[in-house]
């Protein structure tokens, strides 16, 4: 019983939130491109470059919000870059995604070496790397569990929660959202309505770039305040899986990201009782595959039902 309480406690939930936040941000970006019919696995690279730009911005200007500005600007540029290749040049979105991830790895490693002279992990020389502020409200402390959970998180954690709502409203409750979805599902119908599906696709890839870069910013300036090579460490792919898992619906994707975060956090803790974290880490991925199979199976069944 004592073991159980060392695993299942408030810290587990706090860790869940922490690990989930970058995934949530990135997945929100990724689901935008999903809605306009683009399969963007380049989010991994976008997140990595975002993390690097945030650290550079924060270090050079000694302010966290300049870090965010850097990350957002670079993220938008990355989104534009991705969009130009996929929409304008009609390159294979998958090739561009893979190439972007490779490029991100090369670029960040190279720039880290040449700009700071450090390799592997970046330690701000003067120690003036400004990290994201943590927010707390005193009145929340009086509530037992919720207080611990909701207080003392970085700014971007709260931003990500707001963004889930914003994205949901945008996609399902604004005309723009209808155009976004139409451009993914039946672009010609949008075109014949006198609106450009390409514009929607550009918009989605810009948002995707921005949010993925923000995810990177949270990764670098949130709890660690450092940049290290390959620090995104497949979180982009996890975000991508969440989008599939949550069927590109923001609240569902958010829950999927929390689930991933929970399993991750649980894995860390299970290690202390001798259960391998590697084993628990497998579940989300297998879960995503099963989810995909289930989705296909359900549509098939619905089709059959409809026919009868």
């Amino acid at each position: 019983m004592t073991e159980l309480s060392t695993i299942f406690n408030i810290g587990l939930l706090q860790n869940t939130l922490r690990t989930a936040t970058p995934v949530v941000l990135c997945a929100l970006g990724c689901l935008m491109t999903d809605h306009v019919g683009m399969t963007n696995i380049g989010v991994e690279g976008m997140m990595l470059i975002g993390a690097f730009s945030a650290v550079m911005g924060s270090w050079v200007c000694s302010s966290w919000w300049m870090g965010l500005v850097f990350a957002i600007t670079i993220g938008l540029l990355l989104g534009l870059f991705y969009g130009v290749f996929v929409i304008k040049f009609k390159s294979d979105e998958f090739i561009i995604g893979v190439a972007l991830n490779t490029f991100a790895m090369g670029l960040t490693t190279f720039l880290l070496r040449t700009l700071t002279g450090q390799s592997g992990t970046f330690h701000a020389p003067e120690g003036n790397l400004s990290t994201l502020p943590r927010l707390s409200a005193d009145w929340l402390n009086s509530i037992p569990i919720l207080g611990d959970l909701l207080n003392n998180n970085t700014l971007l954690v709260y931003v990500s929660w707001i963004l889930v709502l914003v994205c949901w409203l945008l996609i399902y409750h604004t005309p723009l959202g209808f155009w976004l979805r139409a451009s993914g599902e039946h672009p010609q119908s949008l075109r014949s309505a006198g609106r450009s599906p390409e514009k929607m696709q550009y918009l989605a890839s810009l948002i995707c770039g921005m949010l993925s870069a923000l995810a990177g910013a949270h990764l670098a300036l949130g709890y660690l305040s450092t940049f290290s090579e390959n620090m995104s460490n497949s979180r982009g792919y996890i975000a991508f899986a969440c989008v599939i898992f949550g069927r590109a619906n923001p609240p569902k994707v958010f829950l999927a990201a929390l689930l991933f975060g929970f399993i991750d956090a649980l894995g860390m803790r299970l290690q202390s009782v001798g259960i391998s974290s590697a084993l628990t880490s497998i579940f989300p991925y297998i879960g995503t595959v099963l989810m995909m199979v289930l989705v296909v199976w359900r549509t098939e069944r619905r089709k059959k039902k409809l026919a009868q």
Binding site: F85, F89, I95, V98, R113, I282, Y285, V289
Partner: protein, 359 residues
């Protein structure tokens, strides 16, 4: 016509490579290094000594096998992104079998290990292949997911049930019998006898894709599956088997790493080798001969890049940058050509619409 198309492709490839190298040179110059010196060091690092050339060749053979694995599946219209996972499982299976068979004759043990690697990789590729063929589940996404699952699974085995009791080994499975190891062709290089097996595999894949009736049927399946089905080609079967073959090749790559270099399964058996090979295959549009040649080029860049870093402290990640720039250029070229084709196709479609037989 065909020749002209190939020529124009080679020309744009040449321009892309040249442009990427010039850009790389500019980056070097901007970061305070002499580009001429950098590239010279890189070339020497790749080919300067016998050992360097051997390392280049070894690197190229890995890239080439991974590239061919991508190509053989893509040839039949199925996209295997899961090679990394198949590679890990192949390595793990062969290392496990190898360690079990310690003491037996290499003539029995090594073939069994080869078989184990191929089976592990093949079966792991069969799963997404089956889901794709039977249920139309997107194989790109499932294979990406299965990659991570396999890598974590191997990590679990290495740190858990299969962790070696040997002292002084931080993480790894039991060692395989040294008698089973491929011997090195050039001393202190990573070039081992596995290169001959790799060459045979490359030859078989090339023959299968380019010269055989099966390859012809695979090609048609990849180009237009409905047409293949209509023509009586067993397209589902072909797609599935080409996926399994792709996985088996990846499994072998893993086995070659273990039996050539490490002697036991370690978690760092591959650092995204498959993705590098996949990019080579994409640049060469899944052409087997092109993949073999481009692998040499990429292999030389990677080995040379490491030397460049060592001798001139130019970060070797510059090589990754140059490589990805080549891919971007080629993707853009492909895109611009595709845009032309799309324009033509659009007109054609409009024409077809007018004739009332648009899809």
């Amino acid at each position: 016509m065909k020749l002209r198309k190939n020529m124009s492709y080679l020309l744009s490839l040449f321009i892309a490579v040249a442009a990427a190298f010039i850009l790389g040179g500019v980056i070097m110059a901007l970061s305070g290094h002499d580009p001429i010196e950098g590239y010279t060091l890189m070339f020497q690092g790749a080919f300067g000594t016998q050992r360097a050339s051997a390392n280049t060749l070894a690197k190229a053979s890995t890239l080439c096998l991974c590239g061919l694995a991508t190509a053989i599946a893509a040839h039949a219209g199925i996209f295997n992104v899961g090679g990394e996972g198949q590679l890990y499982l192949g390595a793990m299976a062969s290392a496990w079998v190898g360690a079990r068979l310690t003491g037996t004759s290499p003539w029995i043990a090594v073939p069994l290990c080869l078989l184990a690697a191929m089976l592990a990789g093949g079966i792991y590729a069969w799963i997404p292949g089956m889901l794709k063929v039977k249920m139309k589940v997107n194989e790109v996404i499932t294979t990406i997911m299965l990659n991570s699952a396999a890598i974590y699974f191997c990590s679990f085995l290495t740190n858990g049930p299969l962790k070696t009791a040997e002292k002084g080994v931080s993480a790894g499975t039991d060692a395989i019998d040294p008698a089973f190891m491929f011997s090195r062709i050039v001393r202190r290089s990573s070039l081992t006898e596995s290169i001959f097996l790799a060459a045979i595999i490359a030859l078989v894949v090339w023959y299968l894709m380019k010269k055989s009736t099966t390859g012809f049927q695979m090609k048609l399946t990849g180009e237009n599956e409905r047409f293949a089905k209509y023509s009586g080609i067993k397209s589902s079967k072909l797609a599935l088997w080409s996926m399994v073959a792709s996985g088996a090749i990846c499994g072998l790559v893993g086995m070659f790493e273990i039996f050539g270099l490490h002697g036991r399964f370690i978690e760092s058996v591959s650092s995204e080798f498959y993705f590098d090979g996949m990019l080579v295959a994409m640049i060469m549009r899944y052409n087997p001969v092109g993949i073999i040649l481009m692998s040499l080029f990429f292999g030389a860049m990677e080995i040379g890049g490491a030397a460049m870093e060592l001798n001139a402290s130019i970060p070797s990640s510059l090589i990754v940058l140059i490589q990805s720039i080549i891919i971007f250029f080629m993707a853009a070229e492909q895109g611009i050509t595709a845009a032309f084709q799309a324009r033509r196709a659009r007109k054609k479609a409009a024409k077809a619409l007018q004739k009332g037989d648009a899809a």
